[in-house]
Amino acid sequence: MSVSPPKNKIWWNEPVPKSELMWVIIAFVWGLIMFFMMVYWHAYGEQNLSNEAYRITAEDFSAKTQTMVDKYTVREESGYPVVHPPVGEDVYLIARLWQWWPILELEKGKSYRLHLSSLDWMHGFSLQPVNINLQIHPDYEMVITITPTTSGEFGIVCNEYCGIGHHQMLGRMYVVDNEGT
């Protein structure tokens, strides 16, 4: 039994039953398929996380974001600046206790280099209802190139626990249809 020593002392010489052997081979091949699926998606898929990241201080990231906000703010909403940067421009989003700042307004079908960093603790960028989720660290600036394909109003939820105000940490993003520029 499984709770007693193998009766046959040289059990490692016993032949493997065919059904087991077959299953081991199937499972191994399936593992290979799953492994190369990830590699394949890097080559042909459209949803891949970039490997671009930099070390940055909170002050520097804050300053870069402020520059963008100063240049491209189009209106205010609930005390947040709404920023509509030109297509192709680098855009910045700050995560801090307990807000996503500022509100970004992007154009549908256009690509933007989105820079993300936290000024204090770790946060979780969760864009809803698209459902893209990223881990945001302090001292690391993550850069992804994002192309919104649906327009409307989107919520940014924090999904990394960051203290007592965690559940109030919400941001917003607008995607507008191309204004013919």
Binding site: M1, S2, V3, P5, P6, K7, N8, K9, W11, W12, E14, V16, P17, E20, W23, V24, A27, F28, W30, G31, L32, M34, F35, M38, G45, E46, Q47, N48, L49, Y80, I103, L116, W121, M122, Q128, P129, N131, I132, N133, L134, Q135, H137, D139, Y140, E141, M142, I146, P148, G155, I156, C158, N159, E160, Y161, G163, H166, H167, M169, L170, G171
Partner: protein, 562 residues
């Protein structure tokens, strides 16, 4: 140099039980169950708070309860019980005295003191940092100190286990190789040593940081090393509860491995590859390359998944072989129908096997795909997955084996047999609901560790779809059902230990022969057919492949990202 020590012979199994091991198994198992109760109560409070219509706790209490729930169940309950399993798998299964019982008691004391210190820190309300205690969230220094003491105690337990293996070999208490279950327990203990070392590497500096001796900890470094501890500790559970599946099938059905070589080989893959899985938590973090992520998240081309898939065939396969040998050979599934479904040890084990494979295993591999993790990371899908592995898989397997330990180690008959009989079904159904509904809510984007997804008092609120609230409500109801199953378990087990009818003990010297009969019960010359198991495995594999590609489809619908 053999030390003479008192032992008795279990009259049903013929196993030799030494007093020192028996007491330590009892102590560890009892403390484990106490912490299961504590952690379970916190868990129900958490689930009821996330059920919008109930919304039980205020925010600060919610985060406190969630921290206490994670620490007490993922760490304290499981590790205490695992130490009991290690002592059982070495001393009892090998018929050998336990190595250095005094040191084992010291380890036990360290674990208990550590667990109490951490619990006091959490309950004081200034350490609501979650199970993961990500820096720079800072807990009270005693929070980290407690976890470190606990880990040191657990490490002591692992070395007592290794010591017992050495003594058994030297004193020739068994012949040939150790039993498969002991082999699996050894795998768990080896992974535990790696896990605890990683824990020390990250938690000692964090402790020093919390008292001001270290002024900065890098968050990415913290997550990378912490998960070598956090994820690996769940891999100890996998090795331990798979050993228990083999143990229970052997005791309840007389099952023996189809092939020792394959089952042991599968365990060996765990030692070599399971630890890479800490990468599962880092797939959407900045500053780590895709090459690193792909290699590690796949356990080096899915070799540890291969191990689990092998056990998925060999565990039910060994049961089918044993049942067919007894004459249940009609059709594909007579062997399964005629299993002892009224025995909670068996039914608990089988439900654990099914839920772990279908819910926990498949979801775990899918969310561990580098790109698919983008649509799953830190949503409540993640707790949905690990409640299927750690609660339906590990906890239910531990409950099932407890129904065997009560007569064998505590020498008591079970009280309330009818309740014991339904317990695995109630608990299994509840946990399956918890897992499925949390995963469902997760695919709708609901975040984990979040007090209020209706965000009533946020400046920029976001409305989750109504289905998300429905899922969280169903999750709350399932948690109540699972809580009921847990309560029945605790009442039956504690009641049996205190008030159950005593089973007469004996230390008749005929022991040696009795044990020999157990050892030689089955030969391993022939290879039985297992058509029923092959059907089950085919169903599993089909579900796996379909679910895997469905999720790629979901991913392909998300905004392009590079």
């Amino acid at each position: 140099m053999a030390i003479k020590e008192q032992y008795r012979i279990c009259q049903t199994t013929g196993l030799r039980v030494y007093k020192s091991a028996e007491n330590l198994i009892k102590a560890n198992a009892v403390v484990a169950v106490v912490f299961l109760l504590v952690g379970g109560i916190f868990g129900i409070m958490v689930a009821l708070t996330r059920w919008k219509a109930v919304h039980l706790l205020p925010a600060d209490w919610f985060y406190l309860a969630l921290t206490a729930h994670g620490i007490n169940l993922l760490v304290v309950w499981i590790i205490f019980f695992e130490i009991a399993v290690l002592y059982f798998a070495s001393s009892v299964l090998l018929g050998c005295r336990l190595a250095t019982p005094k040191i084992a008691w010291a380890g036990f004391a360290l674990m208990l003191i550590g667990a109490l210190i951490t619990n006091v820190a959490v309950l004081q309300g200034n350490s609501s940092v979650m199970f993961t205690s990500y820096v720079p969230l800072k807990a009270d220094p005693s929070f980290y100190a407690g976890v470190i003491l606990f880990a040191v105690g657990a490490l002591v337990g692992c070395f007592v286990f290794f010591g017992t293996l050495v003594i058994a070999k030297q004193e020739k208490t068994y012949e040939g190789s150790v039993p498969l279950v002991t082999f699996g327990a050894t795998v768990a203990a080896i992974i535990a040593v790696f896990t605890i070392a990683s824990g020390a590497i990250i938690l000692i500096p964090t402790f020093l940081w919390s008292i001001g001796y270290v002024n900065h900890l890098d968050t990415l470094m913290y997550r990378t090393v912490w998960w070598a501890f956090g994820h690996s500790s769940q891999q100890i559970n996998v090795a331990a509860h798979i050993s228990i599946w083999y143990l229970i099938s052997a005791v309840t059905l007389g099952a023996k491995p189809l092939s020792e070589k394959v089952s042991r080989g599968a365990f060996l893959l765990y030692i070599l590859f399971l630890q890479l899985a800490s990468a599962h938590h880092l797939l959407v973090d900045p500053g780590i390359s895709s090459e690193w992520k792909i290699f590690n998240t796949s356990y080096a081309i899915y070799l540890a998944v291969l191990g689990s898939m092998i056990h998925g065939l060999t565990v039910p396969g060994s049961m089918e072989a044993a049942q067919r040998k007894k004459g249940y050979t009609n059709g594909l599934f007579e062997w399964l129908r005629k299993c002892p479904w009224g025995n909670p040890a068996f039914s608990g084990m089988f439900i654990s096997l099914i839920l772990f494979g279908f819910l926990g295993g498949i979801s775990g591999v899918v969310m561990g795909v580098e790109q698919i993790n983008l649509i799953i990371h830190n949503t409540i899908y993640v707790p949905g997955h690990f409640h299927a592995t750690v609660v339906a898989g590990t906890t239910l397997a531990f409950m099932a084996v407890t129904y065997l330990l009560v007569p064998l180690i505590f020498q008591r008959e079970l009280i309330l047999p009818w309740f014991a009989k339904i317990q695995p079904y109630v608990f299994g159904l509840g946990v399956a609901g918890i897992s499925v509904f949390m995963m469902g809510a997760g695919t709708l984007g609901v975040p984990r560790r979040h007090w209020d997804i209706s965000q009533a008092d946020a400046v920029l609120p976001y409305d989750f779809p109504g289905a998300a609230n429905l899922m969280m409500g169903l999750n709350g109801m399932s948690a109540v059902l699972a809580g009921l199953g847990g309560a029945i378990f605790i009442v039956v087990v504690v009641g049996s230990i205190l008030f159950g009818k005593k089973i007469a003990s004996s230390n008749e010297p005929v022991a040696a022969e009795e044990e020999a009969t157990v050892v030689s019960e089955y030969g391993s010359e022939e290879h039985p057919n297992i058509p029923g198991t092959l059907i089950l495995v085919a169903v599993f594999f089909t579900s796996f492949v379909l679910y895997y590609f469905v999720n790629w489809k979901y991913l392909a619908e998300v905004w392009p990202l590079r």
